[in-house]
């Protein structure tokens, strides 16, 4: 079998695999109706009437910002998706899943279609709460959709650490809305984007390399976005309903929450990533790239940031999981390029995760909880 035939074979296998996985996911989307907060967000939050125009969304999100919470970007997307109706919302969700898989591969610096299939499979297989992060509309807007622009922002920033990266056209302009959206996404991913940008700037400064304008813009706008998100008046209204604990009890509660979520919600993706990090720091030192270590650290900081949150639902680990998947893919890409028996083990990994993802989706279709 020559190289071209092998390539075509890979594309066929990936295509069939994706069709099956995404097809089953679409069926599961169809089986998951709008529920809980979806009904409320389907309406203009001020007038109570069904959303029928972008002005309704704008009016709703201004009200939302001052009365219920700061995630206006995510909820604006949510309202737009809900307004399309159940069928088109499901179609958009599948497209968002594909887009996220592409962004994860871009962040992992791979163009291999098999690794794209692996990314799509890992999104299901390693997910702590697949229903509330990908199928429930309110959850998918906050996690599935927002992770795309957050991780794309991380890619743009980490790219500066590569020696051979060419400047992206017009980046000084389009980084502005991207950075603002990334900072304004979630309470842990937003500030993590800011810290990632600061780290990259500091690293370049210490190495006496050029610091491009877009990095400074990114740092400022992610900080502005994060501050706007966290300091939204609506958050304080909502937090009234949280239980007030004595200080020591609160510290204990947050610590136990952090330990529990790190070792349960992020299992096994964090374990796999940690093994790879150790391998990179010891066996593969000559291949060690600061961007990959920074990516792993980005995920850890995002997880660490959750210690400041009074609650940590399973779905909140979604963005962290995506960053770790990108880290794993970056490692697999380098092993695949080396060739040899390493390829077989990559295939075993992707194949087993894929089969598990199919199991998960089929199980949910059979034992539909809704």
């Amino acid at each position: 079998m020559n190289k071209n035939e092998k390539k075509i074979g890979i594309y066929i296998v990936t295509g069939v695999g994706l069709l099956l996985l995404l097809g089953l996911q679409f069926m599961l989307h169809r089986a998951t109706p709008f529920m809980k907060d979806d009904f409320w967000y389907s309406t203009n939050l001020v007038t109570g009437k069904k959303v029928s125009s972008p002005l309704d969304i704008l009016q709703s999100q201004i009200w939302h910002y001052f009365n219920w919470g700061g995630r206006v970007f995510n909820h604006a997307v949510l309202q737009a998706v809900l307004a399309t109706g159940e069928f088109w919302a499901d179609v958009l969700n599948v497209m968002a899943t594909i887009l996220l898989g592409i962004v994860i591969c871009v962040l992992g610096k791979t163009k291999n279609p098999l690794l794209f299939l692996g990314a799509e499979a890992m999104l299901v297989s390693f997910n702590a709460s697949i229903h509330f992060s990908m199928y429930w509309e309110a959850g998918s807007a906050n996690y599935l959709y927002s992770s795309s622009w957050v991780l794309f922002y991380a890619f743009v920033i980490l790219r500066s650490l590569d020696d051979d990266a060419k400047k992206l056209k017009g980046i000084s302009l389009w980084i502005l809305p991207l950075a603002l959206a990334a900072g304004w996404s979630n309470e842990n991913m937003g500030p993590s984007c800011f810290l990632l940008t600061v780290f990259v700037i500091l690293f370049l400064w210490l190495k006496k390399r050029k610091i491009d304008l877009f990095l400074v813009e990114g740092a400022v706008l992610t900080l502005v976005g994060s501050a706007a998100l966290i300091l939204a008046p609506g958050n304080f209204v909502r937090n009234q309903f949280n239980e007030d604990l004595p200080f020591l009890a609160m510290i204990k509660s947050r610590l136990m929450q952090f330990i529990f979520t790190s070792s349960n919600y992020l299992f096994p993706v964090f374990l796999l990533s940690l093994i790879l990090l150790i391998a990179e720091l010891t066996l593969f030192r000559e291949e060690l790239q600061i961007r990959n270590v920074a990516l792993f650290a980005f995920a850890c900081v995002a997880q660490g940031g959750m210690i400041l949150s009074p609650t940590y639902p399973q779905r909140a680990s979604f963005g962290i999981m995506c960053a770790l998947i990108a880290y794993i893919l970056a490692f697999l890409e380098r092993r695949l390029k080396k060739g040899g028996p390493g390829r077989v083990f990559c295939l075993i990994l992707i194949g087993s995760v894929y089969l598990h993802a199919i199991t998960v989706v089929m199980t949910d279709l059979v034992f539909t909880p809704f």
Binding site: S262, I348, L349, V353, T359
Partner: protein
């Protein structure tokens, strides 16, 4: 220089053993505190020690690694579905789907971990200018036993729980043997305790956080 490297290696070795002893004792005491059962602890310890027979690696760090791994997977083995009184009839495909889900951690955890360890082992062998002799044949009896356990579980649902327990244990045997034989190295043994510290954290969280 050579003397310095030798002393450094000795120091790291001692540190690894000391850290392993400390972590093993802490983990054992936490388990004892939560479960209040010396027999359960002794049972896990014996099973952990048995996993070291295949690779013939009887060291404190190896014991800690196996101990933390077993304690981490054990809760996954305690099942919430009672197949003795299953709600689905034996001709209902949903019963077999549930049994399959029970075993599907093989695909989500054990195989991916094995694949990554194999990648690392292969790269390590390549760097040393050697081909990797994985020694598949020594795992064949265990793999065959795992396949039989799965088929027995499918055929006899009330036995699914015990079959799953043994299935997981055999998977752990393979992982431990592979890791101790092909992956771990004295040079970075102390650093490689980190993933097992993570597994220990998993154990602690499951024991104390409801």
């Amino acid at each position: 220089m050579e003397q310095f490297m030798k002393e450094k290696s000795k120091l790291f070795s001692v540190m690894t053993i000391a850290v392993s002893i400390f972590l093993t004792v802490v983990l054992a005491m936490l388990f004892l505190y939560a479960q209040r059962s010396i027999s359960k602890l002794a049972c896990v310890a014996v099973f952990a020690a048995c996993t070291l027979i295949l690779p013939r690696k009887f060291s404190v760090p190896a014991f800690f690694r196996s101990f933390s791994l077993l304690l981490a997977v054990l809760p996954a083995v305690s099942l919430s579905v009672d197949f003795g009184s299953n709600p689905f009839g034996f001709t209902d495909y949903r019963l077999y789907l549930q049994i399959w889900i029970l075993f599907s951690d093989l695909l989500r955890v054990y195989l991916p971990v094995f694949a990554i360890l194999a990648l690392i082992a292969y790269a390590k062998a390549s760097k040393a200018g050697q081909g990797l002799q994985l020694g598949w044949k020594r795992y064949l009896p265990l793999i065959a036993a795992m396949a039989v356990l799965f088929l027995v579980a499918m055929a006899m649902a009330p036995l699914a729980m015990i079959c799953h327990c043994l299935f997981v244990y055999f998977a752990v045997l393979i992982l431990v043997d592979f890791y101790e034989s092909h992956v771990i190295s004295k040079e970075y043994e102390i650093l490689s305790l980190l993933p097992f510290c993570y597994l220990a954290m998993t154990v602690v969280s499951r024991l104390f956080v409801k």
